[in-house]
Subunit: 385 residues, 4 copies
């Protein structure tokens, strides 16, 4: 027996597209009790949201998100609108007893994130934050290898998230499509947009971060506003780098930029432990690199003349999620990470085991982001509790 | 204004899934006049086809393909059933005046392919063969580079298509899911299944093949039949390799196997010309490697200290098909090649410029496949006219 | 106790340099009983050979190779002159009871190679052919993996040797430095120069080749002679490709060209067996790629989620030759393959176990080369006994 | 006319070998006025230095470095002994008017480095520090690309130097071969041994570093002393990471460790600028990766569909140093970097243009190393003047 799950989506931008696609596709590939129904989508611009609804097959649309939340025929609210709207919407949705799927980063700051976490926990509603990259099969596999003890005592973690699309000085900021360059809407620049992903993955794989020392930079000081055409100071961090200490005693380096010429979506991490290492690069998402030094099952070291970095093509049926898609050797794409995440969320409803990351998990990432920004401002190490 | 295009799909296996997905997705991402409607699917096994129809959203189903073809509410027949069924179905569909989209290889042999080509041309119906890999954006880009004159006078073409899934002697043959190992159903082994792709791409990029010298091998001589459990001789070619001469004077090597341990879907080609070279590997489908020696626009050689193989991450908006999907750096997956192909077919209906490869194009590939098999049997060079 | 071994080297070209370097260096890095002494070098051009002797520290020089061979103070003759001189020199050196180290290919054809082999065997002199690439540590490691049973039953072998330096039509042919483009001196083009290396490696790793089907091409039909300035027909094969059957039942493809734009010294091979595969590329000589499917020691399959191609950085102390050079992670270069080979030759004198490949081994490679050229001429398969 | 240059080498360890090799080889490959003569080597252990002298062809040996410096027949002193000996030796050699080639890091701290720099400058003697990696042809090429304006305005610099050979707790410390693990002899751990290389390269490519925030870690707290067998606290930094600001406004991250499982000599850097980027990894030393966005010669952007990271195989005759070695496609090894460096030093004597890095250049690197260690101790940003 399947059960319908009525979705109300807020936002029709890039994330509106990826989420809509996930709702349409998930039941075609995964065996799930809960089947999402594209009940209603919502945005202020009626013309745009109407067209969006038609294209993606949403049954109805709203132009006022409070109305959407108030609708009885909606089971779950998906918050896909800019960062500065998450807080108010999540509080209202929790109060209305709706499940919540919220885009990342969870909030504008820790204070908001704490209130939002308290709200969903008090309301007892299912909640998840769309840190979709956890569901890249190769990243999920990295997590599996850690859990299987294949890395051993961890020494190092290093992550970069590099892009290059804002180098040109004539890229405007703000407005409907470029709000990520406006700190009033986005909260921060690369820290909340890109490093938040890196931090979420790092905590998942390597545990809590306890202190950071950071620096940020804004390379282009003024940009034209997309709507008004006026030149304005740039308020976001164009680039951010930080050192970290993890609770488990390992060390970390993190760096993000939108000024790394030639890197398009270069979200990488490497983890080095006593028994093995892993490396991942989102530009080659089908690959997890793995160095095996000792095998925890056999307790044996790999023969010295056979050691090397292994390129695991993460498309076997035995790999996370891959038995649901095609056949070995056939890759999946960017949007599948959302579909995989949604599948986990729906499976969580079945099993009662909440899909990760919850708001509480994402709060932890928010704490690191805030500490990073404070450290960069104050030029001191900041501890995270 | 959009126009519905009613599809009737035959087959519910692996290709049934990829085609169904394409029909569901294409209008969400491409702006097209013709909008496919999942009108009816068809297979002999009623239980299976019913479930398939429900999962993918087909409005109805049939268990007799002749009935499907006879239905007035069907505009286009999609032949996704095993190779030995293509001929009869295509002839019937053409006679009924239906458009035809046929899985590859087109036919069991040249005689069938010629009759099928004649039939669709006589009927004047739109037709296409699903050589989907032409629509991997990196392969389409390779074709673009050739057309832009960036390769120059061609000297060499080499292709491999390697897999390893039939090495184990206990893989059975025949039956519903393993008919590709049964020559009576598949026509041949790797030659029709894998090399046909390589040949289709080669002809597209480098023009007609005029002669071949080939060898095939069957490494495992007996396998159990999937349905009956009886041991039977293996009738297909497990591996096939051949030398080729192209009409343009260049030389080619081709090889395919399902016994290449460690290769999962290693469909590669390299083309070397006077002014540049390209290399592609389907296991890293987002990449086209390009060596630029001279730039046809400037007429200049690349400076000697700067020459090198370039890894083009084929996810820019300027790359084939990629403006329809996500953003630079975000990859698409295996099934998107079918969606891209379908989009081209539908666009061809709009423009009157038929999408390639047509039945006539695929006939050319069939001629090479037949010549290859004959050459392997006779141990002589075979000319292709 | 060390023993001097007096060397007489014929030739001062590219191979003269690599061999001289090996004689100078080998005792500094390897512990050997026999210590080469750079006694005399030889070439017809006195001015050149004098300068060469001074630069490399040869104690004396000769301008007549017969005199060199006649000298009592010479223990071993190293033939580093063009291919058409090997035969006569080797016969004379063998008759004089000298050890012989001969550059590859051994001879102009099988008849010469047989006579040379008979001569050294009759004379009972130590002999080796400089197929130096066997001593790339990664290739030696590949051989070790085969011997350790890590590949298992072999199915496929494929090799390419691609370069691009003769594409320009104004590259002259013949003369002192470009004799490799003159069939009268070189015997053949890429077949003897490049494919001979590929064949030598293939036989070493995968055993005898029993039949071939080949094709060759000469892309530039006329070139200017380097000395005379006259335009002359090009007599060599610019490119050669062939299919092969091995005695062990596996199949092979081979291809070589000097027209593969972007490939500089792209000497690659891949071997696929039931239990594992290896891949090598001379442009990344420090790497052997290895796919492990089953481990012959444990008899266990690698866990399905961990399989992948491993990049073995062949610089560990446990790797062939590498304990004699630097430390793990530090690479060696092209010329070290000659030094490693020389070390093996000298060690062979100590142990009485001749270093490979001997003249007899190289005769086998010559037989394949001749069969390849005949097959290309006659357009038929040729068997090799 | 050539001139002999009499060398006196102190030290017979790993660096003693690489330097001896360079003195033997440089004149064979480079055309130089000054020809090094292996006049004398020196170490306290007579048995060892005698054997070393014999193996490498040093004409004589000393067991007291002061005697070596005092010898009239020595023109240049090469300091290849442990770090805590550099200071005293350099001062004595300068006073004796000898040229000095000193291993890196220059000194134990900035105070020593300043005194040493003052000494050689006062004495007016030629001086160089063996930061040999500047002479990896690919790194020299990176420097050339920067100078040619191909990177443009710099935004980011990131460097790692990772190894894994000290993970095992039973690796001893101290003594003749493991003094690098003893802070009293080495000055520091990875900071002086590995990061010093990264910093030297960074300053060469990207200019002065003005401030740093660092953290270090010692993962194994106690090790047995190699000579005494006693357990002792480990005094060095096992790992070090730091953030940096460059004078030109770009940001940098640096990290080094000997606990990065799977990394053997992973000395990498990446530089991102407005017009291009470069990436290098010492484990693939023959490759420089280059991303070209705009060409400063033509002033044109690369066409959007052609952009990609280019793997430059740095073995063309047009590449730094490579016209002196073999032919395109043939790589050189680790020790060649010392030979290349020596060639530059000798050429500097001819031209009067001192080879870099001089003591003064290396002093700058020492300042950064000291600031890094202080920052790690104090947990604050440190400015460097």
């Amino acid at each position: 027996m399947t059960k319908p799950l009525n979705i109300g989506l807020i936002g029709y931008g890039f994330m509106g597209r990826t989420h809509s696609n996930a709702y349409r596709q998930v039941s075609k590939f995964f065996d799930l009790e809960y089947q999402p129904v594209l009940k209603a989508c919502c945005a202020r611009n009626e013309e745009k949201i109407k067209e969006f609804a038609e294209n993606w097959g949403w049954e109805s649309y709203e132009t006022d998100w409070r109305k959407l939340i108030a609708r009885d025929d909606i089971d779950a609210i998906d918050i896909g609108s800019p960062n500065n709207t998450h807080y108010e919407m999540a509080l209202a949705a929790a109060e209305a007893g709706k499940m919540i799927l919220c885009e990342k980063p969870l909030a504008m700051d820790v204070a908001q994130a704490e209130a939002m976490t308290a709200a969903v926990e008090k309301a007892g509603v299912a909640n998840m934050v769309w840190y979709n990259y956890r569901r890249v099969p190769a990243i999920t596999l990295a997590h599996q290898l850690v859990k299987e003890g294949r890395i051993g005592r961890p020494f190092h973690y290093r992550a970069t998230y590099l892009q290059d699309w804002t180098i040109a000085e004539d890229v405007p900021q703000g407005g409907a499509t470029l709000w990520r360059l406006d700190a009033a809407v986005a909260g921060s620049g690369v820290t909340g947009d890109l490093l938040a992903h890196s931090i979420d993955t790092a905590i998942w794989l390597n545990g809590p971060i306890t202190s950071v020392s950071a620096a940020t930079e804004t390379f282009v000081k003024e940009r034209m506003h997309q709507d008004t055409g006026e030149m304005q100071p740039v308020s976001i961090d164009d680039a951010c780098m930080f050192l970290a200490r993890f609770e488990n005693g390992s060390m970390g380096t993190f760096e993000s930029s939108r000024y790394a010429r030639g890197r398009k979506n270069y979200n990488t991490f490497e983890m080095n432990g006593e028994d093995g290492s892993v490396f991942f690069d989102l530009e080659d998402p089908q690959i997890l690199q793995f160095f095996e030094y000792a095998n925890p099952t056999t307790g044996k070291k790999v023969e010295d003349h056979l050691t090397g970095w292994r390129r695991i093509h993460v498309t076997n049926f035995e790999h996370p999620y891959m038995d649901r898609w095609w056949v070995p050797g056939c890759t999946i794409g960017y949007e599948h990470t959302f579909t995989n995440a949604l599948s986990d969320f729906l499976k969580g409803l079945e099993t009662g085991e909440p899909a990760q990351p919850t708001f509480r998990d994402a709060l932890q990432t928010q704490k690191v982001c805030d500490a990073v920004l404070e450290s960069a401002r104050e030029r001191i190490w900041i501890d995270i509790n």
